[in-house]
């Protein structure tokens, strides 16, 4: 049997448990909504404006740098699995691969893009 069926079952049961708990809460809890109770929480003061706020460009940069390193790690996992059976040349290949990306990290740092200013 495909081993991913086990994973699928874990996901299904893992969703059923919280759904069950929330449904139990929905059945047992009182429901007495009123406009003040349902208003957005803003420290007891009436909410001002939209919840939408302008975000810093840094979030985008962090996500992009992360994406680059995520893809890098994906490439490195097969390399790491096989490393024990390969010679020194494979280690050097991996080191070159990582070093090229560290240059990018250094560039982003020198440009001040990794700082939360």
């Amino acid at each position: 049997m495909n081993e991913w069926l086990y994973v699928a079952l874990f996901m299904i049961v893992g969703a059923i448990i919280p759904i069950g708990a929330i449904l139990a809460g929905a059945i047992l809890s009182p429901k007495k909504p009123n406009p003040i109770k349902q208003s957005t929480y803003e420290c007891g003061i009436e909410p001002v404006g939209d919840a939408w706020v302008q975000f810093k460009v840094q979030y985008y940069i962090f996500a992009l740098v992360f994406l680059v390193f995520d893809v890098e790690a994906v490439f490195l996992f097969p390399w790491a699995v096989k490393l024990g059976q390969l010679g020194l040349y494979a280690v050097v290949e991996g080191i070159i691969f990582i070093s090229i990306l560290v240059v990018g990290l250094l560039y982003a740092w020198r440009k001040g893009m990794l700082e939360w200013s």
Partner: protein, 169 residues
């Protein structure tokens, strides 16, 4: 119909519905989440095909990183998150015709291709796809150059992103 086929049809159907919702929903954040659902469906199809590594990579890279990037970009760029303009332009009939013809043509082509109905050989239980990938990626006679070039490509992507964000500041 085998159980595997039924599971495949369910997953494929869910993926297609999610993909359709991406282009039809008017809320851009919802579109991003429907896109995530579609990408997850693709990961599930990889898992059904026993391509476990690709399935996990699909989730890690597309859902864990690219989807997050999309959502951050949405929050960064658009103030009005609801699209109110018309969803179709006057060329939609021509577009539908071309899409239907392409689909029909491809379906006809694949029907006449006898390899489509050949059952894939069973994977030997000793076969470790990840280890095989590792030796191919590091072997000088195979893909070591693409492996290193991928790193340069990622470097270029990072420098480009930093440059764009830097000049905008």
């Amino acid at each position: 119909m085998t159980p595997e086929k039924i599971i495949f049809l369910i997953v494929a159907g869910a993926t297609l519905v999610s993909a359709l919702m991406v282009v039809t929903t008017r809320n851009i954040v919802h579109a991003a989440f429907w896109l995530i659902a579609a990408l997850f469906g693709v990961a599930a199809i990889f898992a059904i095909l026993n391509a476990g590594f690709i399935a996990v990579v699909q989730v890690v890279v597309y859902i864990g990183a690219i989807a997050i990037l999309f959502i951050f970009a949405v929050m960064l760029t658009r103030k009005d998150l609801r699209d109110t303009s018309a969803q179709q332009n006057r060329n939609w009939q021509a577009g539908a015709l071309i899409a239907a013809l392409t689909f029909g043509g491809l379906a006809a082509l694949f029907q006449s291709w006898e390899k489509l109905s050949v059952a894939a050989p069973a994977i030997p239980s000793s076969f470790d796809a990840v280890a095989e990938l590792g030796s191919q990626l590091t072997s000088p006679s195979a893909y070591v150059l693409p492996f290193e070039v991928a790193s340069v490509l990622l470097l270029a992507a990072m420098i480009g992103a930093v440059y764009i964000a830097f000049t905008r500041k």
